[in-house]
C-alpha cells in the first residue's frame, strides 16, 4: 500500500525518532510512506477564525498532492493531523472559506484543480486500525511488549473536536490501548489521558505548563504505568521538561520495537 505522507516540521528536527520509527514500522507492515515533493509546515495549531485563509494554504497544498495521486494523506504528529483534518473539514463545510481558498490556489504557478475536500486524512493510528487492521499487525509482532504497563497519552489534539476528527470516543478512547494490547503490552487507563499538557503556553506561562504536565504524568504514575506513549512532540517535551517520573516515548518507537525493526533503525 502506498500513501501520501506529511511529516511536519518537528519530525525533521526535534522529533526525528517519531518519523524514523514510523517509516520502519510501516515498512514492516507493507506500507510505503511517500512524501510530497514539497511540503510546508502546517502552522502547528488550527485557527477557528473564519477569515484565517492564507495560513491554511500549506495544509491544502498537501491535501491536493494526495488528491491528485488518489491516495489518503497520512500524518503521525498529532498537531499536523489536527490542523490538516480540521482544514479539510472547513473546506467541506464552509463554502465561503472554500471559495476564498480556491481563489488563492488559482493564482499559483501550475494552478491545481479546485479543491473541495476530496482527500481522506488519516492518522497513522487510524491507518493501522482501519486500513491495515490490528489482526495483520498482530501477525507481524516479533517481540511482544510482554509485562510492560503502558499509559497511552492522547492529549487534546488527537481526539478533539470529535465531530471533525472522528477518530475515537473523545472521552473514553481505546485506539491506542487496543494497539498496545495487539503489541503484547498492558494498557493502563488513567483519568488524565485526554487532558491537555499545556501546549504552547510553555512559552507564555511556564508555571501553567508545569501544572498541566505534572497532573498528567502523576496521574499515569499513580495508576501503575511504567511508561507513557504519545504521538505529539509538544506533549512529550512538556511532560519531560516538567519532570515526568515516567519515561515518555513515541508510539512509533514501541510499534517498531514490537515488530522487531527498532534496532536496525536506532541512531541517525
Amino acid at each position: 500500500m502506498k500513501v501520501t505522507y506529511f511529516p511536519g516540521c518537528t519530525l525533521r528536527t526535534k522529533a526525528k525518532e517519531l518519523d524514523r520509527y514510523a517509516h520502519a514500522a510501516c515498512n514492516a507492515l507493507g506500507v510505503e510512506l511517500v512524501e510530497p515533493d514539497t511540503w510546508q509546515c502546517c502552522g502547528g495549531v488550527f485557527s477557528y477564525a473564519k477569515d484565517e485563509i492564507a495560513s491554511k494554504l500549506p495544509s491544502v497544498r498537501a491535501l491536493i498532492d494526495a488528491r491528485d495521486k488518489n491516495e489518503p494523506l497520512v500524518t503521525v504528529c498529532s498537531a499536523c493531523h489536527n490542523v490538516i483534518k480540521q482544514t479539510n473539514h472547513q473546506i467541506k463545510t464552509d463554502a465561503d472559506f472554500a471559495f476564498r481558498m480556491n481563489n488563492y490556489l488559482a493564482q499559483e504557478k501550475d494552478a491545481p484543480a479546485p479543491y473541495n475536500g476530496e482527500t481522506k486524512v488519516l492518522h497513522l493510528l487510524e491507518l493501522i486500525r482501519d486500513e491495515i487492521g490490528f489482526d495483520k499487525v498482530a501477525e507481524k509482532v516479533q517481540k511482544p511488549l510482554t509485562g510492560k504497563k503502558i499509559a497511552a497519552y492522547y492529549g487534546c489534539l488527537l481526539l478533539r473536536p470529535s465531530k471533525t476528527m472522528q477518530m475515537d470516543d473523545p472521552e473514553n478512547p481505546k485506539i491506542i490501548e487496543d494497539l498496545i494490547r495487539v503489541l503484547g503490552g498492558e494498557p493502563v487507563i488513567y483519568p488524565a489521558r485526554n487532558e491537555c499538557c499545556g501546549g504552547y503556553i510553555a512559552l507564555e506561562d511556564a508555571e501553567s505548563a508545569k501544572k498541566r504536565s505534572n497532573s498528567i504524568s502523576d496521574s499515569a504514575a499513580a495508576h501503575g504505568a511504567d511508561m507513557i506513549i504519545t504521538a505529539c512532540p509538544l506533549c512529550r517535551y512538556n511532560l519531560i521538561k516538567n519532570g515526568s517520573k515516567l519515561p515518555v516515548v513515541y508510539f512509533t518507537e514501541l510499534l517498531a520495537e514490537a515488530l522487531g525493526v527498532k534496532e536496525d533503525n536506532d541512531g541517525e
Partner: protein, 130 residues
Amino acid sequence: MENKNERRREEILRISGVNPRKCMKCGKCSATCPSYDEMEYHPHEFVYMVESGELAPLLESKSIYKCLTCFACVERCPRGVEPAKLIEAVRLTVIREKGANHLKADDIPAKLDEEIPQQLLMSAFRKYSK
C-alpha cells in the same frame, strides 16, 4: 466609542461564527477548562460579556493568552456554543492591531532550550502574533 465597541463586537461574532445567545449558562466550559485557575475571565464569562457588549475588560485581560486551544470546551459544550472560538476571535482583534503582537521574535532567544520542538514555536507565534 459606542460605535467602535459595537463594530468590534460584530467582528468578533462574524469571525468566530459563534452565537452566544445559544448559551444556557451551565458553566461546563469553565468547569472543564484546564486554564481556569490562570484566567481572570473564564470561558463562560467570555460568552456573556461578548453577548452583552462588555468588551473592554476582555480586551485588556491576560486571559486571552491563557486559552490552550485544547478544544475541551468545544467538545463538551452541550449547546454547541464552543467558547474557544470566541476567545480566539477576541484575541485576534487585539493582536491584529498595529504593534500589538504579544510574542515578538526578539523574545525567543531567551526562552529557547536545546529540546524545544519547532511545533511549540510555530504554535505560539500563530496564537500570539500576527
